[in-house]
Symmetry: C2
Subunit: 133 residues, 2 copies
């Protein structure tokens, strides 16, 4: 396995992490993601880590990196499906992932991204007529 | 890795196959999927195989099995993201997957499942008012 598939779902991209990440795979994922954000004008990136029983500092940094790069490309990163034990480990490692939003599952993550798209549209005045009545 | 994550997306379940399937993993996936279809009353199962460069008769049979079991539970199986080379290999193996629907990508697969849900609703008369005008 040399690539992690990136699935397009509406205005968001979905990545499911299932395999052990190593350097080359993490770099390939970051490259593929940035290319796909640019190509599809995606507004959000959902990273599902429900399959991961352990998140070490390497994966923590990778998530942080992806979130930082996505933000520069105007896409929001939402990590979904984190197990409670993983959350505890992350905080113990001193990795509270400040740049990364989290949601319980993919559906809530999608809802979060949809709300952000709506908010952006409102702030640009595109949805003004929605609130005219 | 002992389990492949199953993500709920609206009325459908999404599975991304990224790792080499072996007997135990395939059986676990079938069990998890049937349990989740029953628990969520899902109407469709999307199986993304865009990461697979090779689909052998074992995976072909697994897809066929999943489709058959899902059908009994009133959910439609759509295999998405199949590479052209994989399609050629499948036919050469004599596996044309008669019980499995296919779609180019996840979005089209979702659209296929949505259309089926609408068609079911119409045949039950629930959407009659849509067509009254």
């Amino acid at each position: 396995m040399d690539r992690i598939p990136i699935l397009k779902l509406g205005s968001a991209l979905l990545v499911t992490i299932q395999v052990d990440m190593h350097d080359r795979l993490a770099i390939a994922l970051e490259e593929d993601l940035t290319a796909k954000i640019a190509a599809t004008a995606a507004k959000g990136v959902l990273i599902d880590i429900s399959a991961l029983e352990i998140v070490d500092s390497f994966i923590g940094r990778m998530l942080d990196n992806i979130a930082a790069v996505s933000r520069v490309l105007d896409a929001e990163t939402v990590v979904v499906g984190m197990r409670p034990a993983v959350a505890i480990t992350l905080v113990e490692l001193g990795l509270s992932l400040p740049g990364v939003k989290t949601a319980l599952n993919v559906e809530r993550g999608m809802a979060l991204i949809s709300r952000r798209i709506d908010a952006d549209a409102v702030s640009r005045g595109e949805l003004d007529d929605r609130y005219d009545e």
